[in-house]
Point group: C3
Chain length 154, copies 3
């Protein structure tokens, strides 16, 4: 095991997995920031804690805001794409791939997801966000192919 | 570690985890396909890129469609159930279970999730989808029981 | 590998990961329970299976209910926070941390997430839920820091 932990491929997997998960985690506080500054809440107790003293203010605060929803969609897209990356990426790292090839996969994925978030939040005109989404998925599909090619047991 | 990677149980875990994650990933492009063919978008920049030239068309395109929402609920249900499977399944593979027993767990889970997606998207009348959901959760609960029985440290 | 599996840190990771994933999984049946007892459904086939015989009943059953939405938001928050914990936690366990320090991380995280769910579902007045959310994220950030400090390969 120490052999694996000390391996460069596993270290690269560890580094990029941590980076993309941290990137994803930022979406949570960002949603909170938009909710608090724009006074947009889903829960009555949240609205109450942020100035919703009377019935009328509460009604105004418990609403759907397009900027908050945008951050939430970005967060959801991260979940949908980063979960397969970390699962399949770990299995891929176990197949003892060439370091350069592994780094290529991890770097493109991390880059595509960071670009995706920026493209979603600014927002950039399409198809920039769509293309970065496809690139990220392509990396995961490529790793999945190599995992299955390295060995299968049905 | 090589010992583990070469073990049949880990190979089976690797195979089925890749399969269910690939199955989950298909939901993303499927959502995109429905959005583009039915002209149903959440983001103004997406509507604009797919023919939303004037104010009126934009308004028509930025809507909620029940077929798109159905795919999204199917995707969400995958996330909620496949994440625990891959997390607990990895720990289960580490407990050195009997290969036949491990394969039984992985096969039933993968089968139940593939059936669940078909039942959701066709859709089949209930309780077919509900039952496949319960079967998948049952497999994960069974693996969790075996993980905790194999050893705990609180 | 046996060395790792038998290590106390990995056993602690395994125990707490299983606990928080099981806690997250409860949210699914809980949503189902609220849907069935309150007759609140998203899918026509679900409404039909639970007494939606005629057009009018169907319309009444296919609605959004604030109690169901609350459980769903709680579930979603679990996904957003437990996924980074299990991913980064596994890498952290591989850095061979001190057992006491690792247990401190895992216990605080599990405690904060269990408290978070109770605070969300009761609900408790804020900022109790918000604070438990921040504590859980703090644990994951602390583990991420230790993972990156233990070694990086870009």
């Amino acid at each position: 095991m120490s052999e694996l932990i000390n391996s460069e491929v596993f270290l690269a997997y560890s580094t990029y997995t941590t980076i993309v998960l941290l990137k994803m985690m930022i979406m949570g506080p960002l949603t909170g920031y938009f909710r608090m500054t724009r006074k947009v809440f889903s829960n009555p107790e949240d609205a109450r804690a942020h100035g919703g003293k009377d019935e009328e203010t509460m009604k105004k605060y418990l609403r759907v805001d397009q900027d908050v929803e945008r951050v939430r969609r970005c967060h959801q897209n991260d979940l949908e794409n980063i979960v397969p990356f970390i699962g399949i990426g770990l299995l891929y790292a176990f197949t003892k791939p060439n370091l350069g090839m592994a780094l290529l996969h991890f770097r493109i994925f991390a880059g595509s997801r960071i670009f995706h978030s920026i493209a979603y939040l600014v927002p950039f005109p399409q198809p920039s966000r769509g293309l970065s989404w496809i690139v990220g998925m392509g990396v995961t599909f490529s790793m999945a192919y190599r995992v299955l090619k390295a060995g299968m047991h049905f």
